[in-house]
Amino acid sequence: MAGLLVLLLGLALTGTAYAAFAPAGQAEQAVADQELIDEGRELFLVGCAFCHGQNGEGVLDVRGNQLGPSLVGVGAAAVDFQVGTGRMPMVQPGQQNPSKNVAYDEQETEALAAYVAALGPGPGIPDEETYSSDYLDDLSDEERDAAINRGQQIFLTNCTACHNFNGAGGAMPRGGYAPDLKGVSEKHIYEAMQTGPSQMDVFSDGNIPPENKREVIAFLNTLDEEPAYGGFTLGGLGPVSEGLFAWLIGIGSLVGFAVWIAAHTTRTKKGKAQA
């Protein structure tokens, strides 16, 4: 409790001091920011602190397992991703924390993000022009193909090992999985790369620069939009589902036909063959 008081005092002091010295326009902005952070803090104490600690420092349970990790330095992008995809607040600890219905509206999410961002510097929520693939519309056909091609190459190099060539997802150790990427919003794809949720790696800007991240997103969009050239995709899971269909549909129907043919003889009298 004492820590909280100190923190509050600190925040209040810096806030007022800043407000006193800052130029008028910025001061208004700062006050607005501070209000947002305060609002976020309220929400955090109610919905998140149980697992992440009252100051986002993380909580260990009696057996020393992490109830929730420290959020210092994860940045606004992590919150926006985790809360925006419904992953947080987590309802049940487990191997996988699936995305689910979103619990906070946009404004509340922004407030939570602002609060966590204030705990320590981390990646911020990207602007729309950073992640949106709309810029492709301004490119020539050739440039567009080249961008999508680079996106595919980056995706195949960095992501398919877990998410599969089709973005259909894959297994992770001990019951975890990398989810299907169909239908994930462009912003969340970007943030997932920025922050590396759970077992996924962080793809920092040094690793995959923002313009390349955008190309990955552009490529993933083509997966959603591209017609299935070969017909039904059978789940897009590769040879396992193909084999299943070869046996069930292929061999199944051919054996059915064989039974049918053998049951029809030239005998005038139908019925169970006696001879």
Partner: protein, 572 residues
């Protein structure tokens, strides 16, 4: 109807001739006088084939092979088996501008820029899967019914070789397009070769002509895929069919069917119409699958690049079971480092040794069986699976093992689809691949023997008619009705099991005869193999049962509701 009347009653070598030949007849006669085909044709076109759906499984394999030849030749018109690099400029936008191999480039061209190309590519691949799957099902039919027994052992050997070659053919085909999955498969194959002690590295360099991947592998696989293995397959299939005609087809037991005849329909017109029709059905099913269901979307995998890999990298299903064995093989402790040499038993045992042993076992099965049973008779009548309980149980055990390895091969897909932990699947399967087949064996054997007993019951006491009768005392019983004579015959026609017994364990002087050790093992195995089987009824027993049935009111008692034990008065 005496079905044997459909068999030609003369086997003369010259065809009968009518009066004045028509124009066509004249031409045929002209040809026949020079080629002498009529005699041959008459004999073979009237060859009789028995009819049963399970005899058509091999035909599925034959027809899918024909489809593979047709579609494969089509693919060769455009496919370019080169690892040379080229910039992709075809219709598939996401890959345009990337530098890819000629092989991959031409696969994309076939898929997107050749009319009907994708359909034919997909048909080729589906047909490959159906080819191998139908061979497997066909093989199970043969083994379950005892069609591999004397004199057909050689055809069994040919069949196993076809299965192995078909699998290799499929693997080489899968590797040709040089997409990410192909390359991952070839990379894995390189590792498998290298895991062979002593010669592995040399083998790998021999195969690839360089350190992996080199530039030779695709051209080499290509020539193996379109020339070497198809040639071998064609030859073996021809031999398989010739032997089939020579031995004549086996048939199910039944009235009028003996070890000496074949009851069925002549090749022309009946059987040929059915078989020819079946070709079109197999073609149709393959075409529908190729047209509607994506298989191997190489454009999505992208070109092979050793630095890339995708989740769900699996081989085609027929390679799935060794892959599964590899996946669940424990790693630690099975990789040895001796004198600067690495011995990867963790790779060698599941992927090289296990399949090799399995193939050898399959090859030897007919010989092991006849050695154990000591049965040297010729068999042209099939056995129902229940009438060879140990054999049936053995095949079911093999199938169980195969299925469990299959599950292991798809462990990651099963984990995500059924929300399971891949680790737990692996641990469970490590035990189950040993336990499962044993359980399957015991259960199947008991099951078969029960079915045999049930058959015996039916012959002796008739079948359950479903008619309930009430006796004057108020007891209820179900009337059993005698089986129709034909059914009785079909059930009881089979030969009894031969059990190998030692002539005598001791020689005249009471001393253990030399060399009897193997013999004693054989006798013991033989007793185990057939000892619990129910032997067929003798004619006398059947006679006796029928007599009993004629007068008898042979019912099974049903306990009355008040629990009193009703004594049924029998009239005989």
């Amino acid at each position: 109807m005496s079905t044997t009347s459909q068999v030609a009653d003369t086997n003369g070598t010259t065809a009968a001739r009518g009066g004045k030949p028509s124009k066509v007849g004249g031409a045929a006669q002209w040809a026949d006088e020079r080629l002498g085909l009529a005699g041959l044709a008459k004999k073979n076109l009237r060859k009789v084939f028995p009819d049963h759906w399970s005899f058509m499984l091999g035909e599925i394999a034959l027809w899918s092979f024909v489809i593979l030849l047709i579609t494969g030749v089509f693919l060769t018109f455009w496919f370019n088996p080169s690892m040379g690099e080229i910039e992709y400029q075809g219709s598939y936008a996401p890959l345009r501008g990337s530098y890819i191999s000629e092989a991959f480039n031409s696969s994309l061209t076939i898929s997107f820029d050749v009319r009907g190309g994708l359909l034919l590519r997909q048909m080729h691949h589906w047909a490959a899967m159906l080819f191998i799957a139908s061979m497997l099902v066909h093989m199970m039919r043969v083994f379950f019914t005892g069609a591999h027994r004397k004199p057909r052992e050689i055809n069994w050997l040919i069949g196993v070789m076809l299965l192995v070659l078909g699998t290799l053919e499929g693997f080489t085909g899968y590797s040709l397009p040089d997409d990410l999955l192909s390359g991952t498969g070839v990379r894995a194959a390189d590792g498998f070769v290298k895991s062979i002690p002593v010669v592995g590295t040399y083998g790998s360099f021999l195969l690839f002509g360089d350190e992996f991947p080199g530039t030779d592998i695709i051209p080499r696989l290509y020539i193996i895929h379109v020339l070497l293995i198809p040639g071998l397959l064609l030859g073996l299939i021809a031999a398989h069919m010739l032997l089939l005609v020579y031995h004549k087809h086996t048939q199910w037991p039944g009235p009028g069917r003996t070890e000496k005849n074949v009851v069925g329909f002549p090749m022309l017109p009946v059987y040929a119409a059915k078989a020819g029709g079946f070709f079109f059905i197999v073609f149709g099913v393959t075409a529908i699958m190729g047209g509607l269901m994506t298989i191997n979307p190489v454009w999505m995998y992208g070109p092979y690049d050793p630095s890339k890999v995708t989740a769900g990298s699996q081989p085609d299903w027929y390679m799935g079971w060794p892959d599964g064995a590899l996946r669940i093989m424990p790693g630690p402790g099975f990789e040895w480092h001796l004198l600067g040499v690495t011995l990867s038993w963790n790779v060698f045992v599941p992927i090289i040794l296990l399949p090799t042993l399995t193939i050898i076992t399959l090859l030897l099965l007919p010989f092991i069986e006849s050695w154990i049973t000591g049965d040297k008779r010729e068999h042209h009548l099939l056995q129902r699976p229940r009438d060879a309980p140990t054999r049936t149980a053995f095949m079911v055990a093999l199938m169980t093992m195969y299925g469990l390895f299959w599950i292991a091969g798809g462990n990651d897909i099963i984990a995500i689809r059924f929300d399971l932990s891949i680790n737990q699947i692996t641990y469970i399967l490590r035990v189950m691949v040993f336990l499962g087949p044993i359980i399957a064996f015991i259960v199947t054997r008991r099951w078969c023997i029960s079915l045999q007993r049930h058959d015996r019951e039916k012959v002796l006491h008739g079948y359950e008619s479903g008619i309930l009768e009430r006796s004057p005392e108020g007891a209820y019983s179900e009337r059993h009705q005698p089986l129709p004579a034909g059914d009785t015959f079909t059930i009881t026609q089979r030969d009894g099991d031969e059990v190998y017994t030692l002539e005598s364990e001791k020689d005249a002087n009471g001393v253990q005869a030399p060399g009897t050790r193997g013999q004693r093992l054989r006798a013991r195995l033989s007793a185990w193999y057939a000892g619990s089987n129910v032997q067929p009824l003798t004619p006398a027993e059947i006679e006796e049962a029928q007599h009993h049935g004629d007068h008898g009111h042979d019912g099974h008692e049903i306990e009355s509701s008040d629990g009193r034990d009703n004594e049924l008065s029998k009239t005989d």
